[in-house]
């Protein structure tokens, strides 16, 4: 419907980035391989280095811009778009600045950290471009709190219905509802791990992944029920449990997708801080040991 961050203003920032890369390559190409290697030691290398350092500082400032709600130059979307393109572009500029010379030193450390930041950024970009649609499709017009509301309703109905069933089903269903686990720790959220359990009549806890074992238990009980009333209750319970299953799956998927949408930032931002530090050290070291 609306333009995403790549397509903003008819790819304006893509062309800006391409322009800056072409200029950088042009500057690099003017180096004549005389007595000095094509790295930060030449004036071209110095220019590219200063350019790359400024770019890194500017890219970091997105965090500030995002929180400057009265800032008037461009929208946050403009800044984000340019951030994405120049973020990838800085890889080219920095590589040219290094002249493809790497080693086990603080300079390469800065480069590697920057590379990691860019990779995490690309992962983030991928999630930003693809996950919102998947989240919306999964939610089907209901937001997370509405889904939880629906689950609560189903739980109440389920417990009420289970009370009309035999002791085995009653214990299993009520404990299964009470011991349903959604979310949890970071890994559980990101990988949608299901730690749900239910209790059998003899007090043993069984795993209940995807609610399937519980549903299985109830369905198996239906043809074996003694009374007509119990069959009706079991049938109702089965419907409720299956609807619960669907809602829980949707919630878990929602949590997983939303989790990934944020998780990459926990890598990207600390690495950015590390990169900045490394770049400062790189600059100091370079000038002290010139």
């Amino acid at each position: 419907m609306f333009d995403n961050i790549m397509r903003v203003r008819n790819y304006r920032y893509f062309w800006w980035c391409m322009g800056s890369i072409v200029v950088a390559v042009g500057v690099f190409a003017t180096q004549t391989s005389s007595n000095e290697p094509a790295n930060g030691g030449t004036w071209q290398g110095l220019v590219l280095g200063v350019w790359a350092a400024l770019l890194i500082v500017w890219l970091t400032l997105l965090g500030v811009r995002k929180r400057s709600y009265r800032f008037r130059l461009g929208t946050v979307q403009d800044w984000t778009s340019l951030h994405v393109y120049l973020g990838v572009g800085v890889l080219v500029v920095a590589t040219l600045h290094a002249g493809l010379q790497f080693g086990w030193n603080v300079h390469t450390l800065a480069y590697v950290l920057m590379f990691a930041v860019i990779i995490s950024g690309v992962v983030g970009l991928f999630t930003y471009l693809s996950y919102p649609r998947r989240i919306a499709d999964n939610q089907q017009g209901q937001n997370r709190s509405q889904l939880f509301g629906e689950l609560y309703e189903l739980n109440q109905q389920g417990i009420k219905t289970a009370r009309s069933c035999g002791p085995e089903v009653q214990t299993a269903a009520i404990s299964g509802i009470q011991r349903t686990a959604i979310g949890g720790g970071v890994l559980s959220q990101l990988f949608a791990r299901d730690l749900s359990r239910f209790e059998t009549l003899d007090g043993v806890q069984q795993p209940n992944p995807h609610q399937a074992p519980l549903i299985d238990l109830v369905s198996k009980r239906i043809p074996r029920a003694d009374k007509h009333d119990e069959v009706t209750a079991l049938q109702d319970l089965l419907v409720i449990l299956c609807r619960r299953q669907a809602v829980i799956e949707r919630l878990r998927k929602d949590i997983r997708l939303q989790g990934w949408l944020q998780a990459w930032l926990y890598v990207h931002v600390p690495l950015t801080a590390a990169t900045l530090t490394a770049v400062v050290v790189h600059i100091l070291v370079t000038f002290i040991y010139w």
Binding site: V8, Y69, R70, R72, V76, Y131, P132, A136, G141, K160
Partner: protein, 986 residues
């Protein structure tokens, strides 16, 4: 004038005194006996002047009808002369003897000849009356003992009674000349029913309070205590539990029937009963038992009781939920089989409570009350008997609470003979300048008279008693008029300026003086001067005045001075005020071309006033002008109280619409006949204008609201186009194809102008040239609708948007779900730019086809929130943004009126502490927690300020535009105007 030449034929011959020597011996009359033939000649000398100075202010302080009885004496009709004399004078037997006769001093004849012997004639008339025994005592049929009965002891009634008490004291009267009647057991019933601790505001700040009672902003308790102290101090004669059920009689002898059977009498009645009305009773035996109550102040006051609540409206539901939350067992008695009148939120809550076994709420649908009786059971002292779907049921309970709505006071007022101008629910009876109704002796003040604010009501209470006592005081708001007229090109008393304005505007000349004064008080006076010294001086004068008013809590209006030739408004601006021209000329321009020139007495701006859409033309003042700019709110109030004004504005609106669409070159006179034949139609949301397949013989011009056209039937019906005010619907029927191809439905409350075939043809004859333009329009629309029909998914989106109220929206926040990452930076930006409170709820609201419409203001064409704002705190900026200013009093009307839940009442947000203070000392809200912080609620200063209405203002004050949109990192949030809908349809 009996004899035309009387003043030439006869000379003055006044009755001589008796001889002085004789007079010294007795105490009798000093004049000689009247000579009747002399007196008839003397009466003939009166010239019956066109301006009888003898009976004017300087001639006769009591305005005796002197030329009339002079003439009657000449004609020898003494009895008639006596009646005319008694008409204005109760004691001619004294004045005929001892008055210094300024009438003779001001007699016109005295300019060239000695004056007419008026004093002699007067004395002779009354003496003859005594001789002939014509004069008899005329005592009133009944003595009432009370001059005024004040009904209702809210701020208006209380202030009236306090003034009457004060006047009694000044007259050293020991028996009160008035009585204050209150239906409740204590004064100010409506304010008594405010929730505990509610803050009562004193608005408008610039209006001075003139009352013998005191009032200042404070909690409900403080205000009520103050008034109670005033009642004690002033020894106000208040009678509680005295509900007036009927008023009959006429001025001088009104009879007021009280509910307990008493009858009271009074010469005048002041109605100050507010708008709330009395609660509707159950209507069965036992409805007045002490444990049957009709309101609930605090649900927490009851615990562990069985309570029966009768009613299915919002207040009943809220009571039930409140009572259930404090552990009571509640039965709700619903006459119908569903809760059809409840708000959606309440509906969901009550249904959940009923179905939840853990909550002690039981609902009896389709049930009616038979009776309520007291039982000897001390534990559950009431038994309520009900007719339910399953037969008769009796419930033993502790109390019954009936919430069946109120009986509006209109019936009661009409019962006293007062008429209302029309049937509209918000009609206000027409009142004179002294608040008198069309029934002489019945006065109406306060919110029933259309003045909802406490200070206004108290001032009116004071004034009305002064008027009844014959003191023509200037109203307390008179100084405000001084400010408004300060920069006019002439200096006159406000009273005279008002007169002048009203005379100059024929349209308003028939309004009564009170309404007109109110209209001007609420309007802006706009003055234009040609550039030069005069303009500079006027601007300077206005600035000085504004500076002198700047210390007031709120600055009252002063005239707006602009240079001649400047625009009053421009095409495309959002504004809905209405202009009338008192002096000068105004040019209306469309697309830069001068279109119409309007002169003194004409009006303009009615288009946006009615449709709510932006201005269709620009208006420019020529030369020196005086204009009155009246806000929409006041015009709507006027429409409801004055049919003439409403019809006048409607007519001009129709003429200008017909001219714009069909006959741009026609004159007003040419359009007069056609315009009188078209019909104004109104449709509720969802009502059908016409069905597909109908044979059509008319077209509609949408006047306000919006209409959607649907093609297809049943499940396959899809909206193909949405038409807004100013657009045509169904014009195809008059231009070739009389079969309706679409079904037209009003998407919101809509008004149209319906034009039938004969009028359409008459218009076409006036202006054949425009037919081409119309035909082109039809062709374009046909292509659009047919294309839309082939893309049902777009129709589905359009239907969704219309169901979300976008049919009346002008600026809506839309979120593309394919781009939204749920970071809430939009909400955070909103809070950061608006005193720490976000005005939008991103996650809430509905979604369809990846379009999400969050809960945020739609800036409606006719904002629902603006409808009922007592301090007039909600405005529309020229750019269309609807915003609430600092004068909000926190009444919550707008929150209730907004159908989109876009307004909420909120305490001010905590000030953000510095990072260190937050981290080290835990002060205030930290980063990223703008709304969640509750710490302010207990701050006494915050509580003193109370809650305020908070809504999206589309960042009207932010130079950079809406913060939510600008802060969205992925571009998912956009604000959309109606004409951009098409972008959403993909």
């Amino acid at each position: 004038m009996g004899k035309t030449t009387g003043f030439i034929d006869f000379e003055r011959n006044s009755a001589p005194y008796r001889d002085a020597g004789a007079r010294m011996l007795d105490f009798r009359e000093i004049y000689t006996e009247h000579d009747v033939s002399q007196l008839t000649d003397q009466g003939a000398r009166c010239m019956d002047c066109g301006v009888p100075f003898c009976q004017a202010d300087d001639g006769c302080p009591i305005h005796n009808l002197i030329p009339e009885w002079n003439d009657l004496v000449y004609r020898d009709r003494w009895r008639d002369a006596l009646d005319r004399l008694h008409k204005t004078n109760n004691f001619p037997e004294f004045t005929g003897r001892v008055c210094p006769a300024p009438c003779e001093g001001s007699c016109c004849l005295a300019v060239i000849e000695p004056a007419v012997t008026i004093k002699n004639i007067e004395c002779a008339i009354v003496d003859r009356g005594f001789e002939e025994n014509w004069i008899k005592a005329n005592p009133p049929l009944q003595r009432t003992g009370k001059k005024v009965a004040v009904v209702g002891s809210g701020p208006a009634g209380l202030s009236a009674a306090a003034r009457a008490a004060e006047l009694d004291r000044a007259n050293e009267s020991t028996i009160p000349s008035y009585v204050l009647l209150e239906s409740h057991s204590a004064h100010a019933k409506t304010i008594q029913r405010y929730q505990v601790g509610k803050h009562v505001m004193a608005e408008p700040g610039y209006l001075t309070l003139r009352s013998d009672c005191e009032f200042q902003a404070g909690t409900r308790e403080a205000v009520l205590d103050q008034w109670l102290a005033d009642i004690d101090r002033g020894q106000v004669n208040i009678r509680n539990d005295a509900e007036v059920t009927r008023i009959s009689g006429s001025k001088g002898a009104f009879s007021l029937a009280l509910k307990n059977g008493d009858e009271l009498e009074a010469e005048n009645v002041v109605l100050a009963i507010g708008l709330e009305g009395s609660p509707r009773k159950i209507g069965t035996p036992g409805e007045d038992l002490p444990l049957v109550q009709y309101h609930l102040e605090d649900p927490k006051a009851f615990r562990d009781e069985v309570i029966v609540v009768i009613g299915a409206g919002d207040s009943a539901i809220e009571n039930v939920l409140g009572l259930a939350a404090s552990k009571n067992h509640v039965y709700i008695i619903n006459r119908r089989e569903e809760f059809s009148r409840a708000k959606e939120g309440n509906l969901a809550l009550i249904l959940a409570a009923i179905s939840d076994p853990a909550v002690a709420v039981d609902c009896l649908y389709g049930s009616n009350v038979n009776s309520v009786i007291e039982t000897p059971d001390a534990d559950e002292p009431l038994a309520i008997s009900l007719n339910t779907l399953e037969g008769e049921v009796t419930i033993a309970c502790h109390r019954v609470i009936a919430r069946l709505g109120g009986v509006p006071p209109r019936r009661f007022v009409e019962g006293a003979g007062v008429s209302f101008p029309n049937e509209r629910p918000d009609a206000i009876p027409e009142l004179s300048r002294t608040y008198e109704t069309d029934v002489a002796g019945i006065y109406i003040i306060g919110s029933l008279a259309g003045y909802p604010l406490i200070k206004q009501a108290m001032n009116q209470g004071y004034d009305v008693i002064e008027y009844i006592n014959g003191n023509d005081v200037e109203p307390a708001d008179y100084p405000l008029l001084h400010n408004q007229f300060h920069c006019l090109p002439f200096e006159r008393e406000p009273r005279d300026v008002l007169d002048l304005f009203q005379r100059r505007i024929p349209f308003f000349s028939r309004l009564n003086a009170l309404t007109f004064r109110e209209l001007i008080l609420e309007s802006n006076v706009v003055v234009t001067y040609r550039a030069g010294e005069l303009l500079d001086a006027a601007v300077q004068q206005c600035e000085t005045l504004d500076a002198s008013l700047a210390d007031l809590p709120q600055i009252p209006r002063s005239a707006k001075v602009i240079a001649a030739g400047e625009y009053l408004y421009r095409e495309g601006e959002y504004a809905s005020s209405f202009f009338t021209i008192v002096e000068g000329e105004v040019v209306l321009e469309t697309q830069g071309q001068a279109d119409v020139q309007l002169s003194r007495g004409r009006f303009f701006g009615e288009g946006s006033l009615i449709s709510g859409r932006p201005r269709q033309e620009s208006a420019r003042a020529e030369g020196t002008c005086i204009l009155v700019e009246t806000p929409r709110r006041i015009m709507v109030k006027l429409f409801n109280s004055n049919e003439d004004v409403r019809q006048g504005v409607d007519w001009i609106f129709i003429v200008r619409e017909l001219k714009r669409h069909f006959a741009p070159d026609a004159t007003f006179d040419e359009l007069r006949e056609v315009s009188s034949q078209v019909v104004l139609r109104s449709f509720n949301a969802g009502e059908v204008l016409f069905e597909a397949g109908d044979i059509g013989d008319s077209l509609h011009i949408v006047r306000r609201g919006s209409v959607s056209l649907q093609r297809g039937v049943g499940d396959r019906a899809a909206t193909v186009v949405e038409l807004r005010s100013g657009q045509l619907v169904g014009e195809m029927a008059l231009m070739g194809d009389s079969n309706r191809r679409e079904r037209a439905i009003a998407t919101v409350a809509t008004e149209t102008i319906e034009l039938k075939r004969p009028e359409f043809l008459a218009l076409m004859r006036l202006n054949a040239g425009n037919l081409d333009g119309l035909q082109n329009l039809v062709s374009r629309k046909l292509v659009k609708t047919t294309q839309m029909e082939t893309r049902p998914e777009s129709g589905g989106i359009l239907d969704f948007l219309l169901s979300e109220g976008l049919g009346e929206a002008t600026d809506t926040l839309i979120i593309d779900e394919q781009l939204c990452i749920g970071c809430n930076n939009c909400e955070r930006a909103c809070a950061e730019t608006h005193d720490g409170l976000s005005r939008l709820d991103r996650a809430a609201g509905k979604s369809f086809a990846n379009i999400h419409v969050p809960i945020a203001c739609r800036h409606c064409e006719h904002p629902h929130c603006m409808k009922d704002c007592p301090p007039d705190a909600i405005h529309r900026a020229p750019g269309g943004q609807v915003f609430i200013d600092d004068t909000c009093i926190g009444c919550g009307n707008c929150e209730v009126n907004c159908p989109y839940d876009a307004i909420r009442m909120s305490y001010p947000a905590a000030e953000k502490p510095s990072l260190l203070r937050w981290m080290l000392f835990g002060h205030g809200p930290g980063p990223g927690e703008p709304d969640a912080y509750d710490g302010m609620k207990n701050d006494p200063e915050v509580q003193q300020k109370g809650k305020r209405a908070v809504k999206c203002d589309a960042c009207v004050n932010e130079a950079s535009g809406p913060a939510c949109v600008r802060a969205c990192p992925t571009g998912a949030a956009r604000r959309i105007a109606p004409e951009q809908f098409i972008e959403l349809l993909g």
